[in-house]
């Protein structure tokens, strides 16, 4: 056997807990350093301002060892992606300086905008591990700018360029031919290439660091540490799951539709807890839909596994070991395991609902951990040709509002829900694109009442300064309210309103709409659900909410029967 092939034998030598603790810290710090490199050298607003990327380190067998503090859809898909890439490019075919690029929906994180770059790390011509990162690119071509359109996209081929794993870097430099094909198929080639360079930089920095670590500890210690890290993670996960009562638990919720005029999409999850493992079966959900929103199985696994682990308080460093005990499955051809070429560009909208059905299913098992449903976030793109420069622009946005009420406290206000990115500063948006933000803030009275109320919805009004533009919306909860839990009330419905020539026009949550100068699109996100009966809310909390304007007096009277003059 060539000594560069994957050695499947587990390392025999154990490792002492001290070296192990030290090595683990170091591996995590490498992934953080990769992240800061990516952020600081990126070009698109999604990556540099929105933190819409993630990083990971893999051992020479392609098993995930450590990941940075990034968004679960990426981090959770990465272990599957790296394995698939190595099937296509067996390690013995890789050379120092190579990097493999792919954005395939099925292999990766479920939609084309997420490009993954995998770099083998060599020392003395032997592979000692892999660095990997993924970044959400602001456009990868296809029917609509931003490549996330839902309605009217019936086939993945309409969603932009699909890059099956290719050797995009050789000897540390981009392959000119590959790059020309990619840049020739996207709307903002400068941003895409800039972000690809940032991805290259991140893997370069990570590889340099991994080699140093390997040299400090030697191959045996390093291999033992990896084995041990994976084993510990799996054991801890199983131990935690064993504390939960065995059984089968299910819950169901719906999404508005897959574009105006289509049917609601059913989200159904049946959780089986048995023998230290959890199986999340989404088979009872809708069939795959002819619209750009299906959830490929990697994405299903990423968010399903994440939600379960968070709720079960089994929050461990995410790696291969921790992933072994929790598995998401779904019937082939269903919404959560669609078959290629199912379109999936807008799948980002579903992560909160996936969390919510798992949350609902675990309601009676983990009453102190579950929470009210989230405010549904919005992920719109506003695009066009900038009148000032004649060049295309894509305004990618991330609008986040509140969490549902929790066991001991009100829902957290205005925080990235389930997925984990930052918002994009208003001042950056306006300096970059021909838009003006009219307002951006919390919507009073939108929260679901409860002993602990849900967080409020958020409103963001964006005026178009360009002669024409296209708004591609990606939201939800315009038809079905975010639920409350244990007697908590649901949050208020969300809406998206086009204000044009003095008229207010209600838009669908996933509509695409041509707009013109002076139009204002008003995103009004749903409120989040409450926890526990509203009757148990303290008067002090109600009064504080009124003073701070989260609730009006009228709203407080309606939800809680509050009277300002009532005796204390």
């Amino acid at each position: 056997m060539n000594d560069r092939t994957l050695d499947r034998q587990p390392a025999a030598r154990a490792i002492d807990p001290i070296t192990l603790s030290v090595l683990w810290n170091r591996l995590l710090s490498i992934t953080e350093e990769m992240g800061s490199t990516l952020r600081r050298t990126a070009f698109s607003e999604a990556v540099r301002e929105g933190d819409d990327f993630s990083t990971g380190l893999f051992d020479r067998h392609g098993r995930l060892v450590a990941q940075g503090n990034f968004t679960p859809g990426h981090t959770g898909s990465m272990p599957f992606l790296v394995k698939s890439v190595l099937k296509e490019f067996p390690p013995e075919t890789l050379e120092p300086g190579d990097s493999i690029l792919t954005n395939d929906s099925y292999l990766g994180s479920g939609h084309f905008p997420d490009m993954f770059l995998v770099t083998p790390v060599f020392r003395d011509r032997q592979i000692i591990g892999f660095t990997c990162n993924t970044a959400h690119h602001v456009d990868v071509g296809g029917q609509a700018p931003g490549s996330q359109e839902v309605k009217g996209v019936t086939d993945a081929v309409q969603e932009g360029i699909r890059i099956l794993p290719v050797r995009a870097l050789k000897k540390g430099e981009f392959d000119r031919d590959v790059i020309r094909i990619i840049l020739g198929n996207v709307r903002l080639p400068e941003k895409v290439f800039g972000d690809l360079k940032a991805q290259r930089n991140a893997n370069f920095v990570g590889a340099r660091r991994l080699v140093e670590l390997f040299e400090n500890y030697g191959g045996n210690q390093f291999d033992s540490a990896v084995e041990e890290i994976l084993t510990i993670s799996e054991e801890r996960m199983r131990a935690r799951i064993r504390q939960l009562p065995e059984g089968t638990y299910a819950y169901q919720d719906v999404m508005d539709d897959a574009g105006v005029g289509s049917e609601p999409i059913r989200f159904h999850c049946q959780i089986t807890i048995k023998d230290g493992t959890a199986t999340l079966d989404f088979s009872g959900s809708s069939d795959q839909v002819p619209a750009g929103i299906n959830s490929y199985i990697n994405y299903t696994n990423a968010y399903g596994g994440f939600a379960f682990k968070v709720l079960a308080d089994a929050v461990l460093p995410q790696n291969d070991g921790a992933a072994r005990a929790v598995r998401a499955i779904a019937r082939p051809g269903s919404f959560f395991n669609p078959q290629y070429p199912a379109p999936s560009g807008g799948r980002a909208a579903i992560s909160t609902r996936m969390f919510e059905v798992i949350n609902g299913a675990l309601k009676d098992v983990l009453p102190e951990r579950v929470m009210g449903a989230f405010s549904q976030w919005a992920n719109p793109n506003i695009s066009g040709t900038d009148d000032r420069t004649g060049k295309p622009f894509v305004q990618y946005d991330l609008i986040f509002a509140g969490y549902g009420g929790q066991f001991t406290k009100d829902g957290i206000e205005a925080l990235s829900p389930v997925m984990n990115c930052t918002n994009i500063p208003v001042e950056v948006m306006e300096a970059t694109n021909p838009i003006l933000v009219r307002q951006y803030g919390i919507i009073p009275d939108s929260c679901g009442a409860g002993k602990f109320r849900g967080g409020c919805g958020v409103r963001k009004d964006i005026e178009i300064l360009n002669s024409t533009a296209l708004a591609t919306l990606l939201g939800d909860r315009h038809k079905f309210q975010p639920y409350g839990i244990f007697g908590g009330r649901p949050g208020r419905l969300g809406e998206t309103v086009l204000i044009s020539d003095g008229q207010e026009i209600q838009l669908g949550s996933k509509e695409s709409r041509a707009i013109k100068q002076g139009d204002v699109i008003s995103f009004r996100l749903s409120g989040a659900g409450g926890y526990g009966p509203p009757a148990e809310r303290t008067r002090q909390r109600i009064q504080d909410d009124i003073a701070d304007g989260y609730q009006t007096e009228e709203g407080a009277r309606r939800e809680y029967g509050y009277l300002p003059q009532a005796a204390e």
């Binding site: 192990l20 810290n25 995590l28 600081r40 986040f400 206000e413 208003v426 304007g549």
Partner: protein, 692 residues
């Protein structure tokens, strides 16, 4: 020339007097008096001057570092603060950047803001990104906002309008109206406190400034009055986070700039000590009771960062309140002598939870039951139970051993000393991670740096940290226990200003650059008028630049001299060199933009080096005063180890490790393969040898 410096810390106030004529340094440590800080300072000053036989009137300058602003923020004890903002943007501050600092924690709390939503009011106005006024300021809305805040009893007001960094006109109009209607309100404008883009970060900085403004004003007035009453004739200067000294008047106006006052002074100490030992590149390592602080000095100058987070949880990005003010670059992690160790049965974790001073480590005997780093260091044999803090405090070894065994040893099936080693090593790995960020991650090659270690626990951990990173030399300065106070003697008065102005760097833009710098210089000249004797001002320019399209900038030092033809080309070259050093690649021909422009005025006030400590009386000839068993993983376990009395060491007499060097305020561990000597200036210099 007689200079006095004092640093008010959480537990102790450190004071130092440097007498230039007699070439000596006098140190004093006194308990901090939290109820009335000026009382502790005065008690300390009285004792210090008595020891030095100096009268208040003879003191030429007084320097001061303080944690008053930091503590007001950390304990949320600042002024009742209001915020005036652009209509439609009331919630910018409360929403923040919205990322969870820990992805897997969906139950987290956001940082408690320094003002409440009820105290945030909107005014009708709008400025565009290019500074154009899109909607004029509505005076009626300003009056309504002021009415509301006054009714609420607000003491301090922040004004932060959208795009005010590009055009401050509306903020200035609001300030004028506030001055007319409520002259007693403290006012902070975002266009003055932090004129940078990204509205959340700018607003956060401005609100924090407003929050501490009244407290800092009262405090500095108190200290000044007390000093004057005691007969001190000369002005006091206050240390800023950026390592420069300012007058109290400026500190009162921009108190947010003194948040990292004490730590900055410590870094200056390291710069001075490095310089006297011949090192221009230094990593600073300050490990005290609750945290460790790590910083860097490049080319003799402390590294300055343009922003940082205060009150960060577990020191994680996105968990604190961002402050866009220049500060000495420091990474602070929860690893101090009092940090608590725990295990889940498989792994050891240390900190950030701290036993603090009360109950403190188990070995203090104040009721602590959970093992800390200090307990581990005692079990390992590094600390002398009878000579902790110069013998002021006896440590209980038996209790520490039992505590370490119960919490770590038994669950992991490790002997107590091995468990203690585990705590020590894991703490080191946490610090190593932070040290890696400050070094290699930011483009600094550890092999070219020395480490200066101070603080009570720093010298115990320094040698191993240096080994892990490949740093060849460790210096433990004299007076390590009062390091920050000594550091101030080596500070210059330093004023910074900066402005956001997006400019593509191409030949021909020199006119604009010259304009920007003329404007910045005019601003600083106004501030310089507050400084006594501002002769010999040095001007330093730097800019934050990026490739067009990137969102983050790197700091680039700009050349001195007139800004004329060819200057843009020199600025481009400076950027490319800096970029390649950080990220391994550069992009020849790509468009480069400068975003923030900065100017620093340095007014020399620093003492010319630190005076040596007076020699101890009755110095014996043999520095090795005994032996005791101590644990060295490098030597395979517990071995007999030399114990060295620092006060008996003679210059340039090298002692080979393993050794433990004891002095009143700290203990230095020297590893097998390393050696330690006393330099002519009185610092311990450890040469890191072979071994990992």
């Amino acid at each position: 020339m007689i200079r006095v410096a004092f640093d008010i810390g959480g537990t102790f106030t450190d004071l130092v007097l440097q007498d230039g004529t007699r070439h000596r340094l006098v140190l004093h440590k006194t308990p901090t008096t939290p109820d009335d800080l000026s009382r502790g300072v005065m008690d300390g000053l009285t004792a210090l001057l008595r020891d030095a036989a100096v009268a208040p009137g003879e003191v030429d300058a007084i320097f001061h570092a303080t944690t008053i602003a930091t503590n007001a923020i950390l304990e949320r004890k600042g002024a009742l603060t209001g915020l005036i903002t652009t209509a439609g943007f009331r919630d910018i501050l409360l929403m923040g950047r919205q990322k969870r600092y820990d992805t897997q924690n969906m139950y987290m709390d956001k940082p408690v803001p320094l003002t409440r939503r009820r105290h945030i009011v909107e005014v009708a106005e709008r400025t565009g990104f290019d500074g154009r006024i899109l909607a004029p300021l509505d005076p009626a809305s300003v009056d309504a906002a002021i009415d509301r805040l006054l009714k609420q009893g607000i003491e301090s007001v922040a004004v932060a309008l959208i795009h005010s960094y590009a055009n401050p006109a509306h903020e200035l109009q609001i300030a004028a109206r506030l001055a007319a209607r409520a002259p007693n309100l403290a006012v902070s404008l975002s266009s003055q406190v932090s004129p940078k883009y990204r509205e959340y970060e700018r607003t956060s900085t401005t609100v924090a400034n407003a929050y501490v403004k009244p407290i800092v004003a009262r405090y500095t007035a108190d200290i000044e009055a007390t000093l004057a009453a005691r007969g001190f004739r000369h002005r006091m200067y206050i240390m800023q986070s950026n390592g420069g000294l300012v007058t109290p008047a400026l500190a009162k106006e921009y108190p947010i700039r003194i948040v990292e006052s004490g730590p900055a002074a410590g870094v200056l100490l390291c710069a001075a000590v490095g310089r006297e030992e011949g090192f221009e590149r230094v990593f600073t390592f300050d490990m005290g009771g609750t945290t460790a602080k790590l910083g860097a000095i490049d080319d003799g100058k402390p590294a300055i960062t343009s922003s940082f987070e205060v009150d960060a949880k577990n020191f994680r990005k996105w968990s604190g309140l961002p402050l866009n003010v220049p500060a000495i670059e420091l990474i602070e992690i929860g690893a101090g002598g009092g940090s608590i160790a725990a295990t889940d049965g498989r792994l050891i974790a240390v900190g950030p939870e701290s036993a603090g001073a009360q109950p403190g480590p188990i070995c203090y005997g104040f009721g602590g039951t959970r093992p800390t780093i200090t307990d581990a260091n005692l079990v390992l044999g590094y600390l002398n139970p009878g000579y902790f803090n110069g013998g002021a405090m006896a440590l209980d070894s038996d209790r520490a051993i039992a505590g370490v065994a119960a919490a770590i040893g038994t669950p992991l099936k490790l002997a107590p000393v091995e468990a203690a080693w585990g705590i020590h090593a894991v703490a080191n790995s946490n610090m190593e991670r932070a040290m890696r960020v400050i070094s290699v991650e930011r483009g600094r090659d550890p092999r070219k740096y020395a480490m200066v270690a101070f603080g009570g626990a720093g010298p115990l951990h320094a040698a191993r940290l240096a080994r892990a990173l490949g740093i060849p030399t460790v210096i433990v300065p004299r007076g390590a226990g009062v390091g920050a106070a000594i550091g101030m003697l080596n500070a210059d008065a330093r004023l910074d200003t900066g402005v956001t102005r997006l400019l593509t760097l191409v030949p021909g833009t020199e006119t604009v650059m010259a304009e920007v710098y003329a404007d910045l210089e005019a601003r600083l000249r106004a501030d310089l008028a507050h400084l006594q004797g501002s002769d010999g001002v040095r001007w330093l320019r730097y800019a934050y630049m990026h490739y067009k399209g990137q969102g983050y900038e790197i700091k680039v030092d700009l050349p001195d001299g007139p800004i004329a033809d060819g200057y843009a080309r020199r600025a481009i070259a400076a950027f490319e060199a800096t970029y390649e050093q950080s990220y391994g690649y550069k992009d020849p021909g790509a468009v480069i933009e400068a975003v923030d422009w900065n100017l620093v005025a340095v007014v020399p006030t620093a003492a010319d080096g630190i005076a040596p400590l007076p020699p101890r009386e009755g110095t014996a000839t043999e520095p090795v005063v005994g032996e005791r068993p101590a644990y060295f993983a490098e030597a395979g376990g517990v071995i007999r180890c030399k114990v060295v009395d620092r006060y008996r060491m003679r210059t340039d007499q090298a002692i080979a490790g393993p050794a433990i060097v004891e002095e009143a305020e700290s203990t230095t561990v020297v590893l097998p393969g390393d050696s330690v000597r006393l330099s002519p200036r009185g610092n311990l210099v450890i040469t890191i040898g072979e071994g990992r």
